[in-house]
Symmetry: D2
Subunit: 343 residues, 4 copies
């Protein structure tokens, strides 16, 4: 099966190429980058210099004829424009940007950009693999989830769906490595600015907020406002999400654990940690795992949750390939068996 | 004025020596370390090898005769035993451990150790410099605050005192460099384990929880439960605390900012950042500053607060010296004018 | 094929398990750790908690009966004692420590320990895969090279063998991540001590010095003294070796590159970088690659070489598996196709 | 005394402001930045937001009238043009760039830029404080040394001057934090590219090479070629230089140490470490110290040297202030008493 990656110069694309090039059922046919077309992959990603690829111009006709699946790993706005013509031609599209994740007016409000055509937006399935496998298996457009929502929703959905949490606002405190900010040249991404530093950003304004709220309402069957504060921590990869919610009367820690167990019994990438062992981003680094833990604070009647993922793998490229597997009926773990890299 | 530092081999003590050795009104008379008595300071702290000190045994009689002030920078439990005999002799004691910060039964419960003698506990003043200057100026025993409570309380107290926050639990999500775990040999403090890693620890059990609650009730005049989750981030120094609380009806972001301004107009170490600029630990590194910012999230009626300090300076040694200054009637900034080290 | 790992709690062993557990022709039969026997692998290495293994006591009879290959990843001295009884029983042994790499008196001098029995020492083949494939294919004891020698020798051997370098001392300046120091509890391995720090250690005394000299003389056909200075840099993984040697009259940069090309044309893990692109440890992280570059400094008639490897992979576990592949006649890259993890 | 800093937005300038703002005899009168004139200092350097300064346009007339000393902390080429007019007016100029450090044709060759006017070049004194104090005390133009040369020359000069080293090429292997590359937006300075990475750059081409050679010949009284390879290591600050030279017959380790002792007996910023303790960049971080150590390798007859400095302090801003002190006849340590920040 021939696949293409569009927007092939960011950190997420590097991961897609790393994973796809070892995938047993896939051949990387094209890497598309309008800004660096003609350059060899190894110039952009020297760590992958042994893979012989050359970046290409965007050419919808060629792609439509020659590839079966296209991954869009470009900034928000690109897939709104470029994805529909390809999808028209029957190419399966997996979008790693936010364009197809939200209601159009919400997208416009939080992203400040025009939403994609409604017809295609309506086709799109939200690609949280563990929660939407059946629909993904049929979908022609898959909206791969954001990195923070992936971690937060995997932890929260089983509890919200079970009705364990009061319908008060949930606090989601995120900590991310800087690769989430991309490979673009920004002062705030320089080593000197990130090293030895922790700081919040986009407080009250991060576009992943409505994504979490939408899916909680849709699949959790209960509306929760989310107060989401992302932070940059001095590392390249990884997200830790700490979540706080008020428990409904009568729910015990064991009940909550049982919800998780029931939800993830068959999920190869979800690891429910032993009690007292809390998720660490380095223990999932480079892998598609999501590690989960929770604690009920009896003094306050709240649950404290933690979820760790590699933002570039389960939070982006890895889940995109997991969705490809679901879409194609391959084993869910095909091409995704790499273990975490530690230390 | 002659001072001594007891427990002189930890990271906090290194900072005490760094600061005190340049303090205009102070002479370091003794550095006490029972485990490494007889060694030169430069053996323990090579970065201070140019300072000529030798570590000494604990000798209460000698200290009582020769020094005016003793800083206790030893693990919890030591000052409970060693501080009272010195204080009896009229030596001013500043304790950087938790022994004198809590009600005895609460101390016992959260620290798992016997509390100090009640008589001396009752003498102790909580050394949050900006909030207790008058009492500190008279105190013979000063309980220097914990690192997380320093950051959290400086942000919260003006708002709680003004009655801006509903009496629901406050969420305090802390992010700390690993120096807070001390210089002891633990697997979890190895570079290979901390680098590229973020993780929660002591969830629901951290001993700084009751410290925050006590002071909020005492000085904020309103009881709040605190849900406190500390996290280790891969850096040596610095704490960022993100706080979440529900606003009472009618409070605006401007009102909250006015509370902060009123509280800290004269405070030389509190920097209220311009709107939209969020505290970064690296911008206070090595200094005694505490940087503050807040945001009112209208969607949820909550305030999100952030406070950044250097855990070893404003969160430990720096504030201890600030308290010494208050106690002695010196300028509050004496010996504390070092600017942050960036990058 | 059943394999065992002895000394299964260090960082190098973690890598062995990571690689072997995905190897197409291998089954991990036993993980031996006398200090932590009975514990689950996930307790020691939480990142591998999904692999179901329990650490076992050392039991030579059981191993001799049940496994085909044993990897020794224990501190120097262990394999000298434990390896021979297993080898007697026909088990193939791959030793990652230094015991079988040196002449006995040199080992004694640089390691300060008794050398292994001479009979078995004489059996051992030095496992620099690219340079000794034929002998490795027959060997029953394989002495896996040290991390620094792997990088240095891969760069130097083609040039020394060709007679390009004068027989003056070679300067080898090494830079290593801290994982090379192991997972033991040492002050110098704490995050606070390593972060933001670079320093030399074991200057003039590092045990990899005679290992480089021996192999240069043996396979390079010319004796060179090596002046080797290792440095710790603040990262977990990776080694960069910078080498300096005086060129013999008449040798050009192109000649040297041709030596490298001839030596490594068929070597799947050696990447000769384009001119002006210098090896970076992060571009080989987690992989079995060795990246090489050189420059002839016409002002001084010297060549400057650089080699980058992941010290835990090509410098330890990866090369050990590469040697297993050579020994078993499997494809050299079996189980070693993981690409570098970047960023 | 009024001073100005020209080029006030780089990391080195941030350090100049940090140091000068606490200097007992100095008032910062102007901070000049053509690119960001009109902005507040705190916008460029939030860590210094408490200092009330606004960046200004370059105005030679105003500066000439109002300030006594100007520090040039701009990229190479700027001071060649801007410094002479100010110096004409009697303003003392301290240049942190390379313009005034080399013979004109060598500057042209290595920097690829036109050298400054010869008249002023001839006035310039090389500001290696410990080696040129008398001339600096009279100089109107001080060429502050490069960061690598500062470390390398402080280690080498006493030995070269004593004739201890054979006149063969010296190997200088440098390791620097990324702040040496400035605060400009370059892919290679991003956190994701620097973290977990070590790599050489400008091999055989670094402009500090002729600077070392010139001063060794001038003050060491013996010509040595230098083979200099700089490396970036994943930290913000600090330089470690490892040097290798061949000893002349008859020189012992003790002789070399005696050379160092004689040279630096009165030098307040040079710390000769105890035997077996090797310089660590973190033990000088934020301070003006240079830590030195050496070892004679009897196997090869070479000396191995190491020098650690903070590249932004002793390697730039700190030494510039030290030179100011020498020029003004103030105590050499005025404004430079800050101890290293550890951990």
């Amino acid at each position: 099966m021939n696949v293409a990656v569009v927007g092939a110069t960011g950190y997420g694309s590097g991961e897609l190429v790393r994973i796809l090039s070892r995938h047993p059922h896939v051949k990387i046919h094209s890497l598309v980058s309008s800004s660096r077309a003609g350059e060899r992959l190894g110039t952009v990603f020297p760590h992958l210099a042994h893979l012989e690829h050359t970046l290409e111009e965007w050419n919808v006709d060629k792609l439509a004829k020659q590839v079966d699946v296209v991954f869009f790993a470009a900034p928000a706005g690109v897939s709104s424009e470029w994805l529909p013509p390809l999808a028209e031609e029957g190419v399966v599209a997996i979008d790693l940007a936010g364009d197809f994740r939200l209601e159009p007016e919400v997208y416009q409000q939080w992203y400040g950009q025009n939403p994609p055509p409604t017809a295609w937006l309506n086709q799109a399935q939200y690609g949280l693999s563990e929660w939407n496998a059946e629909a993904i298996a049929q979908a022609d457009v898959i909206a791969n989830p954001g990195c923070y929502p992936t971690a937060a929703l995997l932890a929260l959905l089983p509890l919200v769906q079970a009705g364990a949490l009061e319908a008060t606002p949930l606090v989601i405190d995120g900590k991310s490595g800087i690769s989430g900010a991309g490979r673009g040249l920004k002062l705030g991404s320089l080593f000197g600015e990130v090293e030895g530093n922790v700081f919040s950003y986009k407080v009250g304004k991060h576009q992943h907020t409505p994504e979490m709220e939408r899916i909680l309402a849709l699949w959790g069957k209960e509306s929760h406002r989310v107060i989401f504060t992302p932070q940059i921590v001095p590392m390249s990869r990884g997200i830790l999400v700490t979540g706080y919610g008020k428990l409904r009367q009568g729910w015990s820690e064991k009940d909550l654990r049982d919800c998780w167990k029931a939800a993830y019994e068959q999920a190869p990438f979800i690891r429910l940690l032993e009690e007292d062992r809390w998720p660490r981003t380095k223990e999932v680094r480079g892998s598609n795992f999501c590690d989960l833990q929770l604690h009920v604070d009896h003094r306050t009647g709240h649950v404290v949750l933690a979820a760790a993922i590699d933002n570039l793998v389960k939070g982006a490229a890895g889940q995109a390939v997991q969705n490809l597997n679901l879409r194609m009926g391959w084993p869910e773990t095909a091409g995704l068996t790499m273990d975490p890299l530690f230390p």
